[in-house]
């Protein structure tokens, strides 16, 4: 029996990545799958004020850092939320404000630097173990991330591939999503998604025992409920109005192929499990900002799911 641990949407959180690497041993899983959206969403400037003094604004709270120890602690705190600390000074800050395109380069450099650190950590931690780690970057992850993952000895990039997990189960994987209001790195129209899925599904030897590891959840599955937004990206009705935003192409693929298991993320508040036909669909959700790794343990049997549970670690 293969036991997989699935987590997703850790968005740059060092704590969550470390927990992910430790989750196999902690939960007794032999396969780790990261569903996508590895990279963070914000850079936090550490503005040098002279000497050992830095000023940092985190979550609209201003911190004056005056010692090496405080600097270390603040860096850890910023990283724990998945943000990227960036040492700068008042002059550079003015430059960045005048040329916002430069911030994009900072983002790219920080994101790729951290992904590289994560791969190095995985190689170091998992060397000498039998743990298998699969990863398919999500719609928020820039394309350059793929190359770094490919260079890892222990983390396998599985985007767009059919992967044989064990003697009975194959996995298809994709981090691409349907269109979002944010025009993110990997998103496309539903017909393009359908073609993407079909290209993988057609290669499956035993589709009914397959696992779909697809970042976006299926449409109207309950795992894809997100706050309805107005044209200014403001949640309407104080977030009380939830609407389905999943992929119709994926739902159709699941209904047609009837895989054993379908793993998703993308909608952080969509934590849950459901069935589409007999297919078990799971979105463990995400609480990366709090350093909590939400996940799912699934015990795969031949032609069936032996057991599963959502975790909060």
């Amino acid at each position: 029996m293969t036991t997989i641990f699935f987590a997703t949407d850790i968005h740059g959180s060092d704590i969550c990545w470390s927990k992910f690497l430790n989750a196999g041993k902690f939960y007794g899983a032999d396969t780790l799958i990261l569903g996508g959206d590895m990279t963070g969403k914000a850079v936090v400037p550490f503005i040098h004020q002279g000497g050992d003094h830095y000023r940092v604004t985190l979550l609209e709270q201003v911190y004056d850092i005056t010692t090496e120890e405080e600097l270390k602690e603040m860096t850890k705190r910023v990283r724990s939320r998945g943000y990227y600390p960036y040492n700068t000074n008042p002059d550079e800050l003015i430059d960045l404000q005048n040329k916002p395109e430069l911030v994009h380069d900072i983002f790219r450099a920080e994101v790729l630097r951290v992904v590289q650190q994560w791969m190095d950590l995985a190689d170091k931690k998992l060397d000498g173990t039998d743990m298998k780690v699969y990863c398919s970057p999500g719609n928020d992850d820039m394309a350059e991330v793929d190359e770094i993952i490919r260079s890892s000895r222990r983390v396998l990039l599985v985007e767009g591939q059919v992967t044989q997990l064990d003697a009975h189960h194959e996995m298809i994987a994709s981090g691409w999503s349907n269109r979002t209001p944010w025009d993110t790195e990997r998103e496309e129209d539903e017909d393009q998604l359908a073609a993407r899925y079909e290209a993988m599904i057609s290669k499956l030897k035993d589709p009914h025992n397959a696992i779909f590891n697809v970042h976006v959840p299926p449409y109207k599955s309950g795992l894809d409920e997100a706050p309805e937004l107005d044209k200014d990206l403001r949640p309407v009705l104080a977030g009380n109005s939830m609407i389905p935003v999943g992929s119709t192409a994926l739902r159709a693929a699941i209904e047609k192929t009837k895989p054993l298991l379908s793993l998703h993320g993308h909608i952080h508040e969509g934590r849950g499990s459901t069935r589409i036909g007999k297919t078990l669909c799971i979105n463990p959700g995400s609480m990366y900002e709090q350093g909590t790794l939400l996940g799912a343990i699934v015990k795969l049997g031949k032609n069936k799911i032996e057991n599963y549970v959502l975790t909060s670690g």
Partner: protein, 555 residues
């Protein structure tokens, strides 16, 4: 955080409107359904109602701080259940939350049903000229049960429609209900007591078949019932004693708060706080305005006498039907100021939106908790299934079927003495008590959060909110927790504390009320059985439920 340093990524939304948050909090402390209903039952206290409203609001501000703070530290996490589970660990969060958000709502069901007939069916049928049907609906037993079944049907439709639709229904209901209330307040402030008295006698007879001289008869029946509560004044002790009943109305500004989105800084924290605080403040002011309007035209003493006359009968202390044979709904009393039927119908219809816009809250939160427990494998997977229309049919059944049983016990007042007193109908306030116990757990979680989850707190948007070095969340938790402890002690030891150990006391849900204690204990025992039963069952299947909730080591 400056937008300059935030990239375009999924979920990077702007802040929600404070006004929208205000509307939901405002509807949760519903001045009409919860307010008018509880004010009416509070006819026998010595503390002034205005004083009590203000004093309770002072304490409830700290509830708002506690919830705004917890949302800031752990947003979109599932509320009380997740907060308590993560801070306490173990089953405490499950047992308190399942009881508070799910089982206790079974008891709220017949209360919603009672409100439906008192606020909508009876007055509307009365002004539409359907006297017999109106009087039937205001009767005991079957009418209450039927009304409750109608309420269940309505709320089930709401669940089937989904939150997207109902959120809009609520918003439109807010405007319609507010228009109705505005008309009522204008009528109360522009009318005279003499015209009210004449209108009361005329309409009570015309609409509900009351004998002539209903006004004077109501004064006598209410005085005999012991109607004493003043509009204001009273010693601090007497005002405090009104609070355990008053919170039935206003303990809920946080009801929809756990749905609020990500908190990215002090601004979002303030938005959460403001939405709830403005609602609490507005409702408190509105309550005071309502009391003053009642006092001016209906007459405060008559208002309380009418309430006393009705509830003394409803609770079984007397058997004679009161002179006004229906509940003295303040909106109905206000429209007695006019003899224009159309105006009466329109105003009562507009006021009914307070019920329709609010009633969905009955099962919506419960459904979420049932889903959360199923996702945690502490309930069968089946309960979280959606049917082909996307309706959580099994979760609804878990709400509806027990609610029907509890409604039966409540409507037919099972267990009442031969003289009609006592019985299951007396446990009304236990519906508030069950949720207050859960809030108490949350308040304790808030107090210890900065110390037990130091890193989590320090990396949160409220890390710097401190007074004299003590985190604001801890201070607010102590005050709110202390207030809840006061309520819980008063409810539980009511006769000893308030009436020398005799009678039902002031609130009727003390340890002397077997039904109340049995209901609450039954709920806790049931949730403990579910928790420990499923834990053992999952263990047999190779899943250690303790392990899946434990924090994974980082190193």
């Amino acid at each position: 955080m400056s937008n300059l340093f935030v990239r375009k990524a999924t979920g990077m939304v702007r802040s929600w409107s404070v006004f929208d948050a205000f509307i939901y909090a405002f509807f949760s402390i519903n001045i009409v359904t919860l307010g008018f209903y509880s004010f009416s039952q509070m006819y026998f206290f010595g503390g002034g109602m205005i004083n009590a409203l203000v004093l309770s609001a002072v304490f409830l501000i700290f509830e708002i701080i506690v919830y705004s703070s917890l949302i800031a530290v752990m947003p979109r996490s599932g509320g009380d259940y997740v907060w308590m589970t993560r801070i306490f660990g173990g089953g405490a969060g499950f047992i308190l939350s399942i009881t508070g958000w799910w089982f206790t709502l079974w008891l709220w069901t017949p209360i919603y049903g009672d409100m439906l007939r008192q606020f909508v069916l009876t007055p509307l049928l009365g002004v539409l000229g359907q006297k017999d049907l109106a009087l039937w609906f205001s009767g005991k037993g079957t009418p209450l049960f039927v009304s409750t079944m109608i309420a269940i049907a309505f709320v089930s439709v709401v669940i089937a429609l989904g939150m997207k639709t109902y959120a809009r229904v609520q918003k439109y209901s807010f405007y319609a209900g507010m228009l109705g209330l505005l008309i009522i307040i204008i009528m109360l402030f522009t009318g005279s007591h003499e015209s009210f008295k004449a209108g009361f006698d005329a309409n009570a007879t015309a609409l509900f078949g009351a004998s002539s001289g209903a006004y004077d008869a109501t004064v006598k029946a209410g005085t005999d019932a012991g109607a004493t509560t003043p509009i204001s004044g009273g010693t601090l002790n007497l005002v405090f004693l009104t609070l355990p009943w008053l919170v039935f109305f206003n303990l809920w500004p946080n009801w929809g708060a756990t749905l609020y989105g990500e908190v990215r800084g002090a601004t979002d924290y303030k938005r959460n706080f403001s939405g709830m605080a403005w609602a609490l403040g507005s409702v408190t002011v509105l309550g005071i305005v309502f009391f003053l309007g009642v006092s001016k035209t209906i007459g405060w003493d008559f208002y309380m006498q009418g309430n006393g006359a009705w509830w003394n009968y409803a609770w079984g202390y007397v058997t004679n039907i009161p002179p006004l044979p229906v509940w003295p709904y303040p909106a109905l009393l206000a429209v007695f100021l006019t003899s224009n039927r159309l105006v009466q119908i329109v105003v009562i219809l507009l006021m009914s939106f307070w019920w329709f816009g609010w009633a969905g809250t009955l099962f919506l939160s419960s459904t979420r908790v049932i889903f959360a427990a199923a996702f945690d494998r502490l309930l069968p997977e089946k309960v979280a299934e959606l049917n082909s229309n996307g309706t959580p049919i099994n979760a609804m059944l878990l709400m509806v079927l027990p609610a029907i049983l509890v409604s039966y016990l409540y409507a037919y007042n099972v267990g009442a003495a031969a003289d009609g007193t006592g019985g299951f109908y007396t446990v009304t306030l236990a519906a508030t008590q069950g949720i207050a116990i859960m809030y108490f757990g949350t308040a304790i979680a808030a107090i210890i959060l900065p110390y037990k989850k130091k890193e989590l707190f320090n990396a949160s948007p409220i890390a710097q909110m401190k007074v004299a070095g003590i985190p604001m969340i801890t201070i607010a938790g102590v005050i709110f927790g202390g207030f809840l402890a006061f309520l819980l002690v008063e409810w539980m030891f009511d006769p000893w504390l308030n009436s020398g150990g005799e009678g039902p006391g002031l609130y009727g849900i003390s340890f002397k009320n077997t039904w109340s204690i049995a209901f609450l204990l039954g709920c806790y025992v049931l949730s403990a059985i579910i928790y420990y039963g499923f834990k053992a069952y999952r263990k047999q299947g190779g899943i250690d439920m303790d392990q899946v909730q434990k924090e994974i080591p980082v190193e």
